[in-house]
């Protein structure tokens, strides 16, 4: 019995120690400009190995150097979980969030228990995914006589809902497909999983097309396995200038993911300013731009005010569309 009590006490001690480690600074006073940051900043992001995590780590390398403190990347199981964790964190700027505009979709369709725009303090956006692209297996395109996007539109007009396209609900690829369908592309949407699974489903002939970021299919295009029919968005994808933009066909809306940072509501203004300035300087550096280009990303800086306005507008736009998989 004595041993049991001792061990239970030991357990409790360990538990509280661990919990203490997890709690934040505890300071409730506003952080002074000259002080921030004094120690390591935790950036909470999506699961390890994901595209979001990848982008986060690319940024935090520079951010740590710029601010002169360690940046600890903490991986939650998804972007929404990461947001929820940050929402409940101390408002001292030592726990912030990094992710993209995908959680806006959950929010826009009323499937979120928090407001992505209003429940957080925006810091700045850092990058933008160049337009999502629609790819088809080359042999399949030849079989159907589809050489370009106009051919695809014509084929779908003649054979409505025959071709299957895969995107993922609740993320920017789902929104991109919505935009194409609202613009008149008559296809059937299916969900076969994440980027890699979508590409392999096209290669295996299980589906006809997939929507991914350009970096994921670039090598397949070069190898002659896939053809890229269109880039979703108003402008031509700078990494694939020979591919037409859906904007040329009247499908002008831009749902490309923007990567940004935010923190819990009520962060001191000077903390936001310090972070915002550091991010502005990073995004102006050539080496950061080059590292983004590897993943077909573009520099996309917006300060905290511009970012908040942009997100509010995107949310409004998303809620006007029927986002695939959510309704």
């Amino acid at each position: 019995m004595k041993k049991l009590i001792t061990l239970v006490l030991a357990l409790a001690m360990v538990l509280s120690l661990a919990a203490c480690g997890g709690s934040k600074d505890g300071s409730t006073e506003g952080t002074k400009k000259s002080d921030y940051p004094k120690y390591a900043i935790t950036v909470v992001t999506s699961k390890s190995g994901s595209a979001v995590d990848n982008n986060c780590r690319a940024l935090t390398q520079y951010l740590g150097e710029k601010l002169g403190v360690n940046i600890v990347v903490s991986n939650a199981s998804g972007q929404n979980e990461a947001l929820r964790e940050v929402m409940n964190a101390d408002k001292d700027g030592y726990t912030i969030w990094f992710g993209n505009t995908s959680p806006l979709i959950n929010d826009a369709v009323g499937d979120s228990d928090f407001n992505v725009v209003e429940d957080f303090d925006m810091i700045a956006s850092v990058s933008k995914g160049a337009g999502q692209v629609v790819s088809m297996k080359k042999t399949r395109a030849e079989e159907l006589g589809i050489k370009n996007f106009q051919d695809l539109i014509n084929y779908c007009e003649a054979h409505p809902e025959e071709l299957k396209i895969s995107s993922q609900p609740n993320n920017s690829t789902g929104a991109a497909v919505t935009c194409l369908m609202d613009g008149g592309l008559k296809v059937t949407t299916v969900n076969v999983g994440e980027t890699g699974e979508r590409i392999t489903a096209v290669l295996a002939g299980n589906i006809d097309m997939c929507v991914t970021n350009y970096a994921a299919v670039e090598q397949y295009r070069e190898a002659g396995d896939l053809v890229i029919l269109v880039s979703c968005g108003p402008d031509v994808n700078p990494f694939a200038k020979d591919v037409p933009a859906s904007g040329d066909y009247g499908m002008t809306e831009d749902f490309a993911p923007y990567y940004y940072l935010c923190g819990p509501k009520g962060m001191p203004a000077d903390v936001i300013e310090v972070l915002e300035t550091a991010i502005k300087e990073i995004t102006e550096s050539a080496s950061y731009g080059e590292s983004l280009a590897t993943n077909a990303q573009l520099v996309g800086y917006r300060n905290h005010t511009e970012l908040a306005t942009f997100l509010a507008n995107q949310k409004k736009l998303l809620s006007e569309h029927e986002v695939i998989g959510m309704k």
């Binding site: 190995g49 939650a76 299916v190 969900n191 290669l203 299980n206």
Partner: protein
């Protein structure tokens, strides 16, 4: 041919460059230590090493990460055997035979065999990686949702191998595992489910927290319930030489070794299945196929071989789709891919043309690191054994502290501490009620594969299940699954009747 020369040149370069050799040795040891700590998963080990590689060139970064990966994957067997708590989730099945062996005074031998067979499993998968990557990658493309679903169903029927006499309890245990796996964010639509209104559960019941608790807390409670201060003195009792197994005895297991290595590499190649499922599958199939399978769970070397060969063979398997298709075969491979991206390297079908030197350098690192594991982990064994001769109550306090840290650090979420404790007590009481752990683990691991792929298959075929029956691969797996199921049920009923005549089912650690 030229590519293989690049590989050989890379091996020589690694061996004669002190910087590379030293880094590999250091990170193999770090990996083994992290892997041995319950609660610190292989993925976590890689995440901890990742920031160190930011300032390095790509080749050095790969040396560090792949050495750490190999070390961590093997390190998990140490605590699995000595403490009955797997260091990594893929070493869960190693506890089943490893720990009973330790209790019989054969802990050193179990560890030695585990290390040796891990390296053999790794080597076989790396050979496949070097010679067959393009072929295997093309083969993997043919696996769509229905094929994955059929594999999942086939694997679930393997529960029959580990349920023991009481089939009903076994299947109940599998359902408990599946229920735990379904909690949180639905992986198909991202919608939250079964969180009982508690957003702390939105991220689901995480593997690290649940499995650490599931194995560690029952051990702690068992210790508490005993009057005596128990020490694993048995480890001092029997000495062992080399790796605790003669060459002849090890070779006599060749079927088991090849089957496990193949299963490990195969499950590694298929994205989303992972090394935990590989070792569970290999152990379950081996238990049915091996001559001494009925004794597995009581302390059989062949059980350790099945588990450890498979989980290490997963490393090479998981690298194949990552390199050739740009699709990581596991989370660990995803982290490696992330590191390559950060260094400006994109993987995919052209990586063998564009980055041939780097790719074959990575293969060479896997090979050399694997052999460093063989040497260094063996050298470290005596140290581990000495630690374990300390009073168990002292060790368990440290282990519990590490488990709490590990459970928390996997996603820095206090909910994981609760999952750890609740999972632990659940494990303890289920064990007390005679419910085996293996079916719970199997249900938990396989649920996501089965559910996700069924739903994706239905989405892909517009709610039509016919393609599942017209796919030769899916049908083959489903037919074998049905056959195994029926045969096992009949066998179990017969065995139960026979045992009623007086024979008892052997007590196992499963």
């Amino acid at each position: 041919m030229e590519n293989y020369l690049v590989f050989l040149r890379s091996i020589v370069e690694l061996l004669i460059t002190p910087r590379f050799l030293l880094l590999m040795a250091i990170f193999v040891v770090i990996g083994i230590l992290l892997g041995a700590l319950p609660g610190i998963s292989v993925n976590m080990s890689l995440i901890l090493a990742l920031p160190l590689t930011y300032g390095m060139d790509t080749r050095t970064a790969m040396v560090v990460l792949l050495a750490c990966y190999n070390g961590a994957q093997t390190g998990g067997l140490i605590s699995a055997i000595m403490l009955n708590i797997p260091g990594t989730s893929s070493a869960m099945t190693t506890t089943f035979d490893g720990h009973p062996m330790a209790l019989k005074g054969e802990g050193g031998r179990a560890l030695g065999v585990g290390i040796l067979t891990s390296v053999v499993g790794g080597t076989i998968s790396f050979l496949l990686l070097i010679f067959l990557t393009p072929v295997i990658a093309k083969f993997a493309i043919n696996f769509g949702p229905w094929e994955y679903f059929a594999i999942g169903i086939f694997s679930l029927t393997m529960i029959t191998a580990v349920v023991g006499d009481d089939m009903a309890k076994g299947f109940l245990a599998a359902l408990i595992g599946m229920a735990l796996a379904m909690t949180g964010t639905d992986s198909v639509t991202n919608v939250i489910r079964f969180n009982f209104g508690n957003h702390a559960l939105d991220g689901g019941v995480t593997t690290t927290a649940l499995m650490s608790g599931f194995f560690a807390i029952p051990e702690l409670l068992k210790l508490v319930m005993k009057d005596k201060d128990e020490t694993l003195e048995v480890l001092k009792a029997k000495k062992f030489k080399g790796y605790g197994i003669s060459f002849k005895e090890y070779l006599s297991q060749w079927k088991n070794i090849l089957r496990s290595a193949f299963l490990g590499a195969y499950t590694g190649v298929l994205p989303g299945i992972g090394s935990s499922a590989a070792s569970v599958l290999s152990y379950s199939i081996g238990k049915k196929r091996n001559k001494d399978g009925h004794l597995w769970g009581t302390g059989c070397v062949s059980g350790i071989i099945a588990s450890e060969t498979a989980n290490n063979a997963c490393i090479g398997g998981a690298l194949i789709p990552m390199l050739a298709l740009g699709v990581p075969g596991s989370t660990s491979a995803g982290i490696l891919m992330s590191s390559l991206n950060l260094h400006g390297i994109t993987t995919g079908p052209l990586v063998f043309q564009k980055e041939v030197n780097l790719v074959y350098m990575m293969f060479a690192v896997c090979f050399v690191a694997n052999f460093l594991v063989l040497i260094l982990e063996r050298l470290m064994l005596n140290g581990f054994i000495k630690v374990l001769t300390l009073p168990r109550r002292i060790i368990m306090v440290e282990v519990m502290a590490m488990c709490f840290i590990g459970a928390y650090s996997s996603r820095s979420n206090p909910t994981d501490l609760i999952i750890f404790v609740v999972g632990g007590f659940l494990g303890y009481f289920l064990q007390k009620a005679g419910v085996k752990r293996a079916p719970i683990v199997l249900g938990y691991i396989l649920c996501d594969i089965v559910e996700k792929n069924f739903r994706r298959g239905m989405s892909m075929t517009q709610m039509n299940m016919t393609p599942m029956f017209t796919s030769p691969i899916a049908m083959a797996f489903l037919l074998v699954a049905a056959f195994v199921m029926v045969r096992t049920v009949i066998q179990n009923i017969k065995a139960k009747k026979t045992r009623k005549a007086g024979e008892e089912e052997p007590e196992t650690n499963i």
